[in-house]
C-alpha cells in the first residue's frame, strides 16, 4: 500500500513538473511571438488610437484603412514594391538553382582537365567577404547601365559559390549506376542531369530554393545602393523610406507596411514549416 501511495505521489510530482515546464515554455513562446502579433494588431488599429496609453492590445475599432492608404497614396508605391520583390526573388531563385546545379553536376560527375583546380579556387573565394566586392560591383552595374533596374539585383546573385558547393556534395551521394544505365540507353549528359539528377535532388533543391528566395526577398543593403526610383524599390528598401518619412506621425501605416513585407513569408512558413526547418538545417550544416 505504502509503495502504491508513493508511486501515485511520484507521478503527481512528475505531472506537476511537466505542467510547470509547459506553462513557462508557453509563456516564453508567447513573448517571442508577441512582437509579430503586436505588428499585426497595430496595423489594424486606426492611426489616432495607436498612441493610446495604456496601449490597445486588441484594436477596439479594427480597420483596414491603413492598408487602403498604403496602396492608394501617390507618394507610396507598395504595390510596385511587392511586385518587384516577388519578381526579383522568384527569378533569382530559378536562375541561381539552374546555373549552380548545372555547374555542381559537372564538378561532381564529369571529368575534364583543371576541374579540381577550378573547384579549389572557387572554394577559396568563399573566404572573401561580400563587403569587399560591393564597390567594384556597384561601379560595374553603373558601367553596364544597370543601376535602378532588375538586372542589378538578379545577376550578381548568380555567383553563389555556396550553392555549387552544397549541391555538389549532394550529387556525390547519388549512386552512379542510375546514370550508367541511362548512358547505355543513349541519354545525353544534359538529359541525365535534367531527368535523373534534378528529380532525385528535390530535397536539396527545395532547401536551397528557400534559402536563396528568402535571402533575396529580405536583402536590404544591395537594393538600397543600386535602386533609386520610388517604384523600382523592393519591400525592405521601401519600408526604410516609409518608416523614416512617416515614423512620427503615422505609426499604424508603417506597421501595415511591415505586415505586407513579412506576413506572406510567415503564411508560407506556417504551411511548409517542416520542410523549411529541415531545409535550413541541411543548408546550414553544409556550411560547416
Amino acid at each position: 500500500m505504502a509503495a502504491a501511495y508513493s508511486d501515485v505521489g511520484y507521478r503527481r510530482i512528475q505531472l506537476l513538473k511537466k505542467t510547470l515546464v509547459q506553462i513557462v515554455l508557453l509563456f516564453i513562446a508567447f513573448v517571442v511571438f508577441f512582437p509579430i502579433m503586436w505588428m499585426i494588431s497595430q496595423s489594424l488599429t486606426p492611426n489616432s488610437e495607436v498612441w493610446d496609453w495604456p496601449p490597445q492590445f486588441i484594436p477596439q475599432h479594427p480597420t483596414l484603412e491603413n492598408y487602403q492608404t498604403l496602396f492608394t497614396r501617390q507618394d507610396l508605391a507598395i504595390g510596385h514594391w511587392f511586385v518587384n520583390s516577388l519578381f526579383v526573388s522568384t527569378i533569382t531563385t530559378i536562375l541561381t538553382l539552374f546555373i549552380t546545379s548545372l555547374a555542381a553536376y559537372s564538378f561532381a560527375r564529369l571529368r575534364f582537365p583543371g576541374r579540381d583546380i577550378i573547384f579549389f579556387i572557387m572554394l577559396s573565394a568563399l573566404v572573401i567577404p561580400a563587403q569587399v566586392t560591393l564597390i567594384p560591383i556597384f561601379l560595374l552595374m553603373r558601367d553596364f547601365k544597370w543601376l535602378d533596374t532588375y538586372h542589378a539585383l538578379i545577376w550578381p546573385a548568380m555567383a553563389n559559390v555556396f550553392a555549387v558547393f552544397m549541391l555538389r556534395q549532394f550529387f556525390l551521394g547519388i549512386p552512379r549506376e542510375l546514370e550508367e544505365a541511362a548512358i547505355l540507353d543513349g541519354a545525353t549528359r544534359f538529359g541525365i542531369y535534367w531527368r535523373i539528377i534534378l528529380p532525385m535532388s528535390s530535397s536539396a533543391l527545395t532547401a536551397l530554393a528557400i534559402f536563396v528566395f528568402l535571402g533575396s526577398w529580405n536583402d536590404l543593403f544591395w537594393p538600397l545602393i543600386v535602386l533609386n526610383r520610388l517604384e523600382m524599390r523592393t519591400l525592405p528598401v521601401g519600408l526604410t523610406v516609409l518608416s523614416s518619412a512617416y515614423y512620427t506621425r503615422e505609426q499604424s501605416l508603417v506597421q501595415a507596411g511591415a505586415v505586407i513585407a513579412s506576413v506572406p513569408v510567415l503564411i508560407f512558413y506556417a504551411f511548409f514549416q517542416r520542410q523549411i526547418l529541415k531545409g535550413i538545417t541541411f543548408t546550414g550544416m553544409a556550411g560547416m
Partner: protein, 309 residues
C-alpha cells in the same frame, strides 16, 4: 597470327572510341560550368581584385582621374576617428549579440530537443523571427522600444520601472540593438545546436546515468565537450555575420544618438554612396575584409584540430 593482327586494331578502335567519349565528356563538363564560372569571375574574382587596386587610388565618382596614391587611404583610415568609433561600436554589438545568441539558442535547443508536448510549436515559433527582413524587424522594434509610447516600457511600468530610453541613451542603445538582433536571429543557431545535439550518441548519456551523473553533470561532462566544435562554429560564424550589422542602426537609430550606434558598414555606406569616395571606401572594405578573413582562418584552424583528434 590473325588474332594478334586484329587484336590491336580492335583495341585501337575501342581506345579511339573511349578517347572520343572522354573528349565529349570534357567539352560537356566545360560547357556546364561555363555560365557559373562567368558569373563567378565577373561578380566575385574581378571585383575582389578591383577592390584591392582601388584601395591604392584616390577614386572619387565625380572626378575624371583616379590617381595612384599608395597607402594614403590606409593612412587616412588609421587616423579616421569615425572608423575607430564605428569599429568599437560594431565590436561591442557583435560580442553582446554573439554571447546572447549562443546562450539563448543553446538553451532553446536543449529544451526543444526533448520529447515534450508542443515540441513542434516551440520550434516553429522560435524560428519564425528569422524569416523576417531586417527592415520589418526594425519597424516592429523601433515602435516597441519607443520611450513614450512603446509597449515594452508599458510592461515595465507595471513593475514600477521608469521609462527606459532604449534607443536614445548612448550607453543603452547598443545593448538594445543587440536585444533586437538576438530576438531576430537566435532561431538559426538553435537549429544548428539541435543538429549537433542529435549527433551525440545516446549510450554516452546512459553510461553517465549508470555512473550516477545528474542532469547538470551529464550536460557539463557529456554534452558540452562533445558540442564544443558546434559552439565554436556558431560563435565564429555569428561574430563575422554581426560585424556586418547595418540595417538595425540605419533604420532604428540612424547611427545615433550622436554617433553611439554608428557601425562599420554604415561608415562604408556613407563614405562610398553618400560622399562618393570609392577609393577610400574600398580601403575600408579591404581592411574589414582582412579582419574577417583572419577570423575565418582561426575557425578553420580549430576545425582542423577537431579532425586530428
Amino acid at each position: 597470327m590473325q588474332k594478334v593482327a586484329t587484336g590491336p586494331t580492335l583495341q585501337g578502335r575501342i581506345g579511339q572510341f573511349q578517347f572520343t567519349l572522354r573528349r565529349q565528356e570534357a567539352v560537356t563538363g566545360f560547357l556546364f560550368i561555363l555560365p557559373f564560372v562567368a558569373f563567378f569571375v565577373i561578380f566575385r574574382v574581378w571585383p575582389a581584385i578591383q577592390a584591392i587596386l582601388m584601395s591604392f587610388r584616390q577614386w572619387e565618382v565625380l572626378m575624371p582621374e583616379h590617381p595612384y596614391i599608395g597607402l594614403n587611404n590606409f593612412r587616412e583610415l588609421m587616423n579616421d576617428d569615425l572608423w575607430w568609433l564605428s569599429l568599437r561600436n560594431t565590436s561591442l554589438f557583435a560580442v553582446l549579440t554573439v554571447i546572447g545568441n549562443t546562450l539563448i539558442s543553446l538553451a532553446a535547443a536543449l529544451v526543444v530537443i526533448q520529447p515534450i508536448r508542443f515540441q513542434t510549436l516551440y520550434r516553429v515559433v522560435f524560428y519564425a523571427p528569422v524569416l523576417l527582413s531586417v527592415s520589418s524587424v526594425c519597424v516592429i522594434w523601433s515602435w516597441i522600444l519607443n520611450k513614450e509610447f512603446g509597449v515594452l516600457n508599458y510592461f515595465l511600468s507595471k513593475f514600477g520601472i521608469a521609462p527606459v530610453p532604449w534607443t536614445a541613451d548612448p550607453n543603452i542603445v547598443i545593448p538594445s540593438l543587440s536585444l533586437v538582433t538576438i530576438w531576430w536571429g537566435f532561431g538559426f543557431p538553435m537549429l544548428v545546436f539541435m543538429a549537433g545535439l542529435q549527433a551525440i550518441p545516446e549510450h554516452l548519456y546512459e553510461a553517465a546515468k549508470i555512473d550516477g551523473a545528474n542532469a547538470w553533470q551529464r550536460f557539463r561532462f557529456v554534452t558540452l565537450p562533445l558540442l564544443r566544435p558546434t559552439i565554436l562554429f556558431v560563435t565564429v560564424t555569428q561574430f563575422i555575420a554581426h560585424l556586418q550589422v547595418f540595417g538595425q542602426s540605419f533604420i532604428i537609430t540612424g547611427g545615433g544618438p550622436g554617433r553611439s550606434s554608428y557601425t562599420v558598414i554604415m561608415h562604408l555606406y556613407y563614405t562610398a554612396w553618400r560622399f562618393y569616395r570609392m577609393g577610400y571606401g574600398a580601403a575600408m572594405a579591404v581592411a574589414l575584409g582582412i579582419v574577417m578573413i583572419v577570423l575565418t582562418l582561426i575557425q578553420f584552424r580549430f576545425f582542423g584540430r577537431r579532425e586530428e583528434e
